[in-house]
């Protein structure tokens, strides 16, 4: 609730007799007007001055002597780190972290520009690896979300450069991001940071598959390894956040298979050798199941339905039916879990998944058999009915829930058998 909201709404509360004027004043005093930490105008002014300086330098860059170029780069690097530390000490963490992030970006720019200056940019990525290392170290020191995001993005960018320009995968970069930021995630599982980390690592995994010219389905082995790591994370929310991107990728793949899988043309793109692929995926599954067991999260096991290797089936009707069954089963499992945990967000997601599966099924299976107008009429009625039913269930569930149910954060209610016994112990 913003202070502005309080300012505009609270007089109405007093007139309605909800609170007294004295209470209103106390409420307002409780949420003081945020004093702007730094006036906006000076910031804008300094940005403009900075931009003008930057454009002067950029325009004359080629004409500057080498030493001056180097001095400019290093001066701005040290300057922005120094300014960042200064603002942090002054108690302005946002600006401080932003300036330290700027310093990190300037470090990368300095490496690239210096290498170009001396014609050293070749196929050597060790220079850019130092950039990732610096990002990991700064994230550790400052524990700032911005720096974490920046480091993950820098890792993905360096890897993209390696693959695109040099045609090789930098395992060191991948290991640095996965190990360095993975440890950070393990200790400080923050929802946004976890999702970004997972997305960045998935990007690198995708690049690895491209470089190795492997079948694209191999992508799901590292992706699900990430998922399994989420199972072992003691913090359930942080683990789930890391599992989001791999699950989205798996779902999109299964969806694509259900939608476009009727031709067999993809066979040589998707089908890796059966035994190695299933062996690798099975090993990851075992790891994931062990994690779920250790943390008491078996309720999320049906996520793995999306990884069923349906693409080994011959294309056409068998594959279409199999993928649809999987999509339905997965949507059903999400709905059932949401129902059990009385989680409205999950219920919405489950309903959307269910409707999507129905749409795919309908378009895949009935298009050929029905007159077009009847097709659309029936489909519309089917979807309307389905959404009405799911919404009713949703409302029923929410109405049946205890009035002040805060499922995610509150102490485990007796109706929630799946909450982790391990985390409950210290509270008792």
């Amino acid at each position: 609730m913003s202070r502005k909201f309080l300012d505009t709404e609270s007089p109405g509360w007093v007139t309605d007799g909800l609170i007294s004027e004295a209470q209103r004043l106390r409420l307002l005093a409780r949420y003081p007007q945020q004093a702007p930490a730094l006036g906006l105008l000076p910031v804008l002014g300094s940005v403009l001055v900075g931009l003008s300086g930057l454009s002067v330098v950029a325009a004359n860059w080629q004409g500057l002597p080498d030493v001056l170029r180097l001095a400019l780069l290093l001066g701005s690097l040290v300057g922005s780190y120094g300014a960042g530390a200064y603002f942090l000490r002054r108690g302005n963490p946002d600006l401080g972290h932003a300036l330290i992030g700027l310093g990190l970006i300037l470090f990368g720019a300095s490496i690239i520009l210096t290498s170009q200056l001396y014609q050293l940019v070749g196929y050597d990525v060790s220079g850019l690896l130092a950039w990732v290392v610096a990002g990991v170290a700064l994230s550790y020191v400052y524990g700032s979300r911005l720096l974490v995001l920046l480091t993950v993005v820098i890792g993905a960018a360096v890897q993209t450069y390696c693959v695109q320009a040099l045609g090789s995968f930098s395992y060191a970069t991948a290991a640095m991001v996965a190990g360095g930021m993975g440890y950070y995630w393990w200790r400080r599982p923050d929802a946004v940071g976890s999702t970004v980390l997972a997305a960045g690592l998935l990007w690198q995994a995708g690049l690895l598959v491209v470089v190795l010219h492997a079948k694209i389905t191999w992508f799901f082995v590292p992706a699900m390894l990430l998922y399994a790591a989420g199972d072992w994370q003691p913090n359930r929310a942080g683990g789930r956040a890391l599992q989001g991107p791999p699950l989205v990728a798996a779902y999109l793949f299964m969806f694509g298979l259900a939608t476009f899988g009727e031709t067999d043309a993809y066979a040589n793109v998707l089908r890796p050798p059966l035994l190695p692929y299933l062996g690798a995926l099975g090993a990851v599954l075992a790891l994931s199941v062990a994690g779920k067991r250790a943390r008491g999260r078996f309720d999320t096991l049906p996520d793995w339905l999306l990884l069923l290797p349906g693409f080994y089936l011959p294309g056409g009707l068998p594959l279409a039916v199999a993928t649809l069954v999987v999509l339905y089963a997965h949507a059903g499992s999400v709905l059932a879990r949401a129902h059990r945990q009385e989680d409205p967000n999950q219920l919405t997601i489950g309903a959307i998944l269910f409707v999507t599966a129905t749409m795919v099924a309908y378009f895949k299976l009935t298009w050929a058999f029905l007159d077009k107008s009847l097709f659309f009429l029936l489909g519309g009625v089917l979807l309307l009915g389905l959404s009405w039913y799911l919404r009713r269930r949703n409302v029923q569930v929410l109405a049946a829930a205890p009035p002040i149910a805060v499922p995610a954060t509150g102490p485990p209610a007796p109706t929630e058998p799946s909450s982790t016994p391990k985390t409950r112990l210290p509270n008792d």
């Binding site: 004409g63 530390a85 210096t114 014609q119 070749g122 020191v141 440890y183």
Partner: protein
């Protein structure tokens, strides 16, 4: 067991750690620059020629793509029993000809002893064909001062360019200069 993150994020350590990190970054950039200087100052200088390149392929924004004549060699120049493999690191023994342009004497899997006048250039196998194989040297990009890139592109399309390369005693190589065959004075600001 102390947590690594807690150790790093300790406010008392923050200042010295930042100083250390910034100093390391500055030193690293200076090291890159120093390696560049040293390669030119201490290194051995050779001249290589390029072959004309597909013009669409030559200029990538701020750099020119160079294709060296020594970048493709017949398998007869390969001095090892086992055939070359892709991505293998190799050593190219070069000797200058009468026009002072260096050409390949032989290509070795490990560093050969260079005679007087000869130079050894590091390379990597990019492709192996039936009778020949292709190499790259990390010298395929030349970052050009603004404006002169187009001239090089035109020149490179028609004539071979002469590229002056410095090879440091520790093996690092870099382009010192690309001679522009069209002799026009360089624009100075």
């Amino acid at each position: 067991m102390t947590d690594l993150l807690t150790w790093f994020a300790d406010p008392a350590r923050r200042r010295p750690l930042l100083r250390l990190l910034v100093a390391a970054q500055v030193l690293y950039v200076l090291g890159v620059a120093g390696a560049g200087y040293a390669t030119a100052a201490l290194g051995q200088h050779i001249i290589l020629t390029t072959s004309p390149v597909d013009p669409r392929d030559l200029l990538y924004g701020d750099f020119v793509r160079l294709r060296y004549n020594i970048g493709e060699a017949p398998l007869s120049q390969w001095k090892d029993a086992a055939p070359p493999r892709r991505r293998q690191g190799v050593f190219v023994l070069l000797a200058p000809g009468p026009d002072s342009v260096s050409t390949t004497v032989g290509i070795y899997p490990s560093a050969p002893a260079a005679g007087p006048n000869q130079a050894v250039l590091r390379g990597w196998v990019t492709n192996v064909y039936r009778n020949s194989f292709a190499l790259r040297f990390n010298l395929e990009r030349y970052y050009v001062p603004e404006g002169s890139g187009l001239r090089l592109e035109k020149a490179g399309r028609l004539h071979p360019l002469r590229v002056r390369v410095s090879i440091a005693p520790w093996g690092q190589a870099r382009i010192a200069r690309v001679d522009d065959p069209v002799k026009t004075p360089k624009p100075r600001r």
